[in-house]
């Protein structure tokens, strides 16, 4: 016999007990079945299920598992700029630390294969207006639905795995594009050199201007050493530029200190749910909206095709992997090693002019003046260390 009874604890306020053989059925609109829980505890929704934090594509962070490192391919760096895809480092003073995918080669948390690491290279005392940080800019299109900047802004939860050689209270912040609205937060690391999962729930900001298209929607920032001027009270929105919380541990303050992070997720709602594991190719596509590079994959990789428009200019149509956030900056390295194949192979001189849009670029590549006007051409990378890259980062 089925019963419905008041619960006995605060976590089961109402208990519905089925009989020993049948399913539990919830009905709406009279006797219309809405949900069935069978005897094997499988749940069936007759219509759609609205569970906003449960399904895929809930994470506003791209490359939160630090899988893709198109720029550096695992190499370390010390400069301000992009580290692994979508994640940037800023250091107010040069050479105070090294960033690297999988720095220190420790075992990542279960379920992960990569992380982003930072290692301090000195015991630097951070100035009041100086900051060192790892951050990601979330594009406005990917945060617009959160409704920041108006009444009803959604609560969000930031979760991540972190490991440090230091213990104590660490800090970070969420900011808007203009960096005049910020929410400093803290998290504690209790055991040195041990992965710990953290989550911070943040009430959506109902003030300020938050961009909702191709600009910076939300900046997610982890402080590695932030001066007092750029640090604020944790747990509250402020109309100020704060990139971390007051009193947070300075990683750059200890020579050799390490700080590693992975599994970063920013999602709608007040609960940290499981990490949003997206298909490998899909996550790469998401990264390539902001940056992609083509390099030699095998002996002779075709990059683009086109034709000789003069005896010394090959016009190549370079098609991007995906539509980019904006028309990207195009860079090359060692294209003198590449080949313009027209029947007669030509080696580019190394200079080019490009006509760039968000889906493709027409590149006029300078060659020796031995080409034949009108002849079709294929651009080939035939040697190592040749790259073509496009950046539309925020």
């Amino acid at each position: 016999m089925s019963t419905i009874a008041a619960g006995t604890t605060t976590t089961n306020a109402l208990v519905s007990t089925g009989d020993t053989t049948g399913a539990l059925v919830l009905q709406t609109n009279g006797t219309t079945t809405a949900v069935t829980i069978d005897t094997s505890q499988n749940v069936t929704f007759v219509n759609s299920a609205n569970l906003p934090n449960t399904f895929g594509f809930k994470n506003r962070i791209i490359n939160g598992a630090m899988i893709f490192d198109q720029r550096n391919a695992g190499a370390s760096g010390t400069a301000t700029g992009y580290t692994v895809d979508r994640w940037a480092y800023y250091g107010a003073v040069a050479s105070k630390g090294t960033w690297q995918q999988n720095a220190g080669s420790v075992t990542p948390p279960a379920g992960y294969t990569n992380y982003l690491g930072f290692t301090s290279s000195s015991a630097y005392t951070v100035g009041a207006s100086e900051n060192f940080q790892i951050y990601q800019f979330i594009e406005g299109y990917n945060s617009a639905d959160l409704g920041f900047g108006a009444a009803g802004a959604s609560t969000v939860t930031l979760s991540f795995w972190v490991r440090s050689s230091l213990t104590g209270t660490f800090g970070g912040a969420l900011l808007n594009s203009a960096a005049n609205r910020s929410y400093p937060f803290t998290y504690s690391i209790s055991s040195a050199n041990t992965w710990e999962q953290k989550s911070i729930t943040i009430a959506g900001d109902t003030s300020g201007t938050w961009l909702t298209t191709t600009g910076v929607g939300i900046q997610v920032n982890f402080g590695l050493g932030v001066g007092s001027t750029l640090s604020g009270t944790a747990g509250a929105w402020a109309s100020a530029l704060y990139v971390s919380a007051t009193g947070a541990t300075s990683v750059v303050g200890t020579n050799g200190a390490t700080w590693y992070v992975t599994g970063v997720q920013l999602e709608k709602g007040s609960t940290a749910t499981s990490f949003d594991v997206r298909p490998y190719g899909t996550e790469l596509f998401l990264c390539q909206r902001y940056y992609w590079s083509k390099a030699l994959e095998t002996s002779y990789s075709s990059i683009a095709s086109g034709a000789m428009i003069t005896t010394s200019i090959a016009r190549m149509n370079v098609v991007y992997p995906t539509k980019m956030r904006t028309s990207p900056t195009i860079t090359t390295s060692n294209i003198g090693n590449s080949i313009i194949s027209t029947g007669l192979d030509l080696n580019p001189s190394g200079t080019f002019t490009a006509y760039i849009n968000t889906t493709s670029a027409m590149m006029d590549i300078d060659t020796p003046a031995t080409g034949t006007v009108g002849r079709g051409a294929v651009w080939i990378f035939g040697a190592t260390a040749t790259t073509l890259a496009a950046s539309a980062e925020l």
């Binding site: 600009g215 904006t326 990207p328 900056t329 195009i330 860079t331 980062e393």
Partner: protein, 53 residues
């Protein structure tokens, strides 16, 4: 430092070359490198003329 480019289709140039790395920067408002270029120009700097200009 930057260098202007020539628009082979005629009209105004659509990009500028960053001399430090040879990057071609499109004149796109949302491009952060273009924003840096505009800041550089606003500081009173002038790009080198395009080759053949």
């Amino acid at each position: 430092m930057y260098k202007q480019t020539i628009n082979s289709f005629g009209g105004e140039p659509t990009s500028v070359i960053r001399l430090s790395d040879g990057a071609c920067i499109p004149f796109a408002q949302d491009n952060t490198d273009y924003q840096e270029y505009l800041k550089w120009v606003a500081e009173g700097n002038t790009p080198e003329p395009a080759e053949g200009a």
